[in-house]
Amino acid sequence: MWQWFHRWGSPKWFYDLSGRWLPWLTGALILFLVVGVVWALLFVPQDYQQSYTTRILVVHVAVASTSLAFFPIMAVAGTITLVWKMKMADMVAKTVAPLGAWFSALTLASGSIWGSVMWGTWWEWSDSRLTSMLFQFFLLISVISLRSALNDSETAAKACAVLSIVGCVNVVIIKYSVEWWNTLHQPASALSMNSGSANGPAFWVPTLVMVIAMYLLMAVHVMMATRNEILRRESRSQWVQDLVLAAK
């Protein structure tokens, strides 16, 4: 167990391993993406109420449910950074945050584009998921800007770790409090996301394919970006120099 943990902590080991995995993961990603998108665009049935916009839903749900994974990941990575001072954890945390912001932004965008059809409005404060997703986005941005503001990378790593942990707790609390706030202000049923007939295997199977594709995307992106980060931070170590000279 400990050995395993230590190996993960070694940048070189991660670099080699991810180098071997990346082609496979990328292949799987492309496969799932193509299947998911084609299925979504061609085969998803039209809804009596939502017409062809169910095609948006496939993307939306996949991106949205993946975007919820980011704060927990960052919090775990942050804990590892603070407790075991493992550099790899911080590199992952660093690359995950901007990706999470992209996911959140796309969730917000696809959700509100669909909302413009379903609700006749692009934005609706009285829906708890919208509001809490917006604040998740804000918190992610604050983690990113804290990191870019601190110019010492070690300080930045630890500060962002603290902020991610606090933020993770906070995202949960915000989600509950926003829900609670809405149930009291006005019934959310009219706007419930589960309205419509977006259920049944014809819908959820392509959605599942897309969800898997999104997790693969996360894996591929994080691996590639982390490899870059490793090269940058370890640029003076012997193995990186060998690697650079070999690549030339």
Binding site: S142, T155, I165
Partner: protein, 231 residues
């Protein structure tokens, strides 16, 4: 024997820190007056910017009061560790043999006494100016008493994280404001309930729980953040 000695010294260090921070605030004067005046000015921007009609104001009163309390607390927090960081006092604090948790707690307590308490005291007047319904006053005051320390405590984490940055203000706001949303929601909800005559016990209990959690966790997080920032 030695243990109790250290504990006694710890108390005297806590007291010295609290006293010093209050003294600084008192000497600066502004620190005492400004959160109040800021609260007052920003609250009075709304009748100017939005509408002077009493019914319309009454509807937004609670929200405006809470948002302004949040902003006032945010602005006054900026200086919680800043000047200590710049003049090197923060290093002394960290190098003291006593638990940083209590030292940080002393600083936060002093901040709350200086900026939170006056705000609570001023709130009835502003509530009146914003035509807040009468039955909401007690709840508003209680929620502010419970909520403003939470704002100070949460804010302290953000300040500790950003204390070494040259450009402050905004990044601080970006960290603190989203974190404070739950307090804002709980506070406005409770007062909203009071206006409509519903029981508010549950909401107050939740705010109390938030306060308890913040008191126990936030100074720890702030202390960790301070150690990181000073590195």
């Amino acid at each position: 024997m030695q243990e109790t000695q250290l504990l006694a010294n710890g108390f005297s260090a806590f007291a010295a820190t609290l006293k010093r921070d209050l003294l600084v605030a008192f000497k600066r004067r502004n620190d005492l007056l400004n959160p109040l005046m800021f609260f007052f000015i920003v609250v009075s921007l709304f009748p100017i910017g939005i509408t002077p009609e009493r019914e319309a104001l009454a509807e937004i009163a609670v929200g405006v009061l809470w948002v302004c309390a949040l902003l006032a607390s945010l602005l006054s927090l900026d200086n919680l560790y800043r000047s200590d960081f710049e003049d090197g006092s923060l290093e002394l604090l960290i190098l003291s043999p006593h638990s940083l948790y209590f030292m940080v707690l002393a600083k936060i307590l002093s901040h709350w006494l200086v900026s939170g308490v006056p705000l609570v005291l001023l709130s009835p007047i502003l509530g009146y100016m914003l035509a807040l319904p009468e039955e909401a006053y007690p709840t508003m005051i209680i929620t502010l008493i419970l909520g403003t320390p939470v704002l100070s405590l949460l804010g302290s984490i953000g300040v500790a994280l950003t204390v070494s940055l040259g450009s402050r203000g905004l990044i601080l706001a970006m960290i603190i404001l989203p974190m404070s949303v739950p307090v804002l929601i709980a506070g406005t909800l409770a007062v909203g309930q009071a206006v409509t005559g519903n029981p508010v016990g549950g909401h107050l209990a939740i705010m109390g729980a938030m306060l308890a959690m913040a008191v126990s966790m936030a100074p720890l997080a702030s202390a960790a953040a301070l150690r990181i920032s000073i590195n």
